[in-house]
């Protein structure tokens, strides 16, 4: 592998870390760890394998067909099904973007002490300016690299001296203790939803087109999706272990975005706190940009508009207006004063409901020789893709009933 490719993998890894661990993962992983300790670590493994399988398919489709997935969704599934997918995706994108913006404002508040309400519009302006001014690769680099501050949770996990035997046991599904079966299942669904959020695959596939991937990049696509998401999963493990080691014994049930940072602070002092807050800030900030872009990409690709960060904003005016509109609507949603953590829980659960609409077209297109030629799914990709699609169907059906029955995981 050439130096250029090594660098490209590294950049992919950075962006995957920044994109994978967003506010949904922060909330669900720490809450799950605080209630069930390490018993739900196996769910993260399943979620990571699932997002690798489908991201690899999306990257391959983009590299071979030179078109992003949403472009092909309408062509392959027809206007009606495509429109349903578009509407569901845009609702989830908007809710997720709003939650991430709230998260950015909270991080700034915890760092600066300025009022939250003032910081919300400032956060949106800052993110919109970054999105407008920075080239695509620099967005990946800035938010990916600085999101690496989250690695402080891995160090904190070691410093908190968890029972490593119990941690290892958590990777094997089995009986549970600490909460009711319904709450346990709610977190299984939430963790899977947080790991396989639809915007991740839309952004990944459009990013592959923006980065001008071709057949030469197929290997790079595999390596990037595997290593990147495995590292993202590693951060999720760290968050859950930290919560299981510190919050569970004390009876702390995290309700605020500032609570995970408390664990880094307790284990590593002020440096740990600052690294955690900066890491969270850039991880959720990067995710806010990804969701707004994913919203713009989906609209532009569905309606056949000119799109892409490489285009001058005036040349791709409808695409530019779309992602700006997502930011503006998300701003209004957060300004209502609704708690971003609660909004995150809703957005993750509703994204679970929309998952089949996202993943079925990807599976179909990746198997279509008319688009993919000899690069259609192999046996392994089809077996895994099929199994994951069945799993997605099941969790999509049970997600909302579980949320209502458990009062959002409260029991």
């Amino acid at each position: 592998m050439s130096v250029k490719n090594v660098l490209a993998v590294a950049l992919g890894i950075m962006s995957a870390i920044g994109g994978f661990v967003d506010i949904g993962d922060l909330v669900f992983n720490t809450q799950a760890g605080a209630i069930f300790g390490f018993q739900l670590l196996w769910v993260v493994v399943i979620g990571v394998v699932g997002i690798i399988v489908y991201s690899e398919m999306c990257g391959r489709v983009s590299a071979v067909a030179k078109r992003p997935v949403f472009d092909l969704v309408r062509e392959r599934t027809g206007f009606g099904a495509g429109l349903a997918t578009l509407i569901a995706s845009e609702i989830v994108n908007l809710m997720t973007c709003a939650a991430e913006i709230g998260g950015v404002a909270i991080c700034f508040q915890l760092l600066s002490g300025l009022p939250y309400r003032l910081l919300i519009p400032l956060a949106v302006i800052g993110l919109a300016v970054c999105s407008w001014v920075l080239p695509f690769r620099w967005l990946e680099r800035v938010f990916g690299y600085l999101g690496l501050g989250l690695l402080v949770f891995a160090v904190a996990a070691i410093k908190l001296h968890p029972d490593w035997g119990q941690v290892a046991h958590g990777f094997v599904p089995g009986s549970h203790s600490g909460g009711s079966l319904m709450v346990y299942l709610y977190f299984v669904v939430g963790l899977l939803g947080a790991a396989m959020t639809p915007y991740e695959v839309y952004f990944y596939s459009s990013g592959a087109v923006e980065d001008r991937w071709g057949l030469k990049e197929l290997r790079l696509n595999q390596v990037t999706s595997i290593i990147g998401y495995v590292l993202g999963g590693f951060l999720s493990f760290a968050l859950m272990i930290v919560a299981g080691a510190l919050f569970l014994p004390l009876g702390i049930s995290p309700q605020f975005l500032g609570t995970p940072a408390l664990a880094a602070e307790h284990a590593l002092g002020q440096l740990g706190l600052l690294l955690a807050l900066v890491g969270i800030l850039f991880a959720v900030g990067g995710a806010a940009i990804e969701t707004s872009f994913a919203g713009g990409y989906n609209m532009a690709q569905f309606f056949g508009w000119r799109w892409g960060k490489r285009e001058r904003p005036a040349r791709a005016s409808r695409f530019t207006l779309s992602w700006l509109a997502i930011f503006a609507l998300a701003l209004l949603l957060v300004m209502t004063g609704y708690d971003p953590v609660k909004l995150t829980e809703f957005s993750v659960i509703f994204s679970v409901v929309a998952l089949p609409l996202t993943y079925l077209p990807i599976l179909l297109i990746a198997n279509d020789r008319a688009y993919m030629g000899s690069n259609v799914n192999g046996k392994l990709a089809n077996v895994l893709g099929g199994l994951y699609f069945l799993l997605i169907l099941v969790i999509a059906v049970v997600a909302i009933p579980l949320m209502l029955l458990t009062h959002g995981g409260q029991g």
């Binding site: 508040q109 915890l110 760092l111 600066s112 002490g113 004390l250 009876g251 702390i252 049930s253 309700q255 605020f256 500032g258 609570t259 940072a261 408390l262 602070e265 307790h266 002092g269 002020q270 706190l273 600052l274 807050l277 909302i400 009933p401 949320m403 209502l404 029955l405 009062h407 409260q410 029991g411």
Partner: protein, 144 residues
Amino acid sequence: MRGFRKESRLLVLGLIVGLVGAGCGSGGKLGVKALSQESKSLRSLAAEGALLAQDAVSGKTTRVYTREHSSDLYKAASQAEASLKTAETEPELEPKLRQLAVLAAQVSADLNRLGSASKEEERAVGRELQAAAKESKKIGEGLK
């Protein structure tokens, strides 16, 4: 076929109403489960405040983070205090409800002090919040 469709719709409607009903709870008086949930939530707020105070005493945290995070915890504790003050329950659960309401008021006051406390005060607040967390756990266990 048409009758079957009508029955299916009624079944789905019934299921939704049932789930929403279960989600919203029974309303009115607090039962054992709701009180137990309140005690858990109060224990969590008190324990988190105690941890924050302990870290503030040992210089592990920043002033801004202590002030802002304790303010978030205080708001949640005040909400719990307000809802417990006006809540009603069965006569046999009345003492537990009163205990929780008193404890919520104390936790709320402690968290309010924490944001602008001196080192000595932080130590005292930390101890009080730790004791409140233990007390809340005891009340919750008494409800089982």
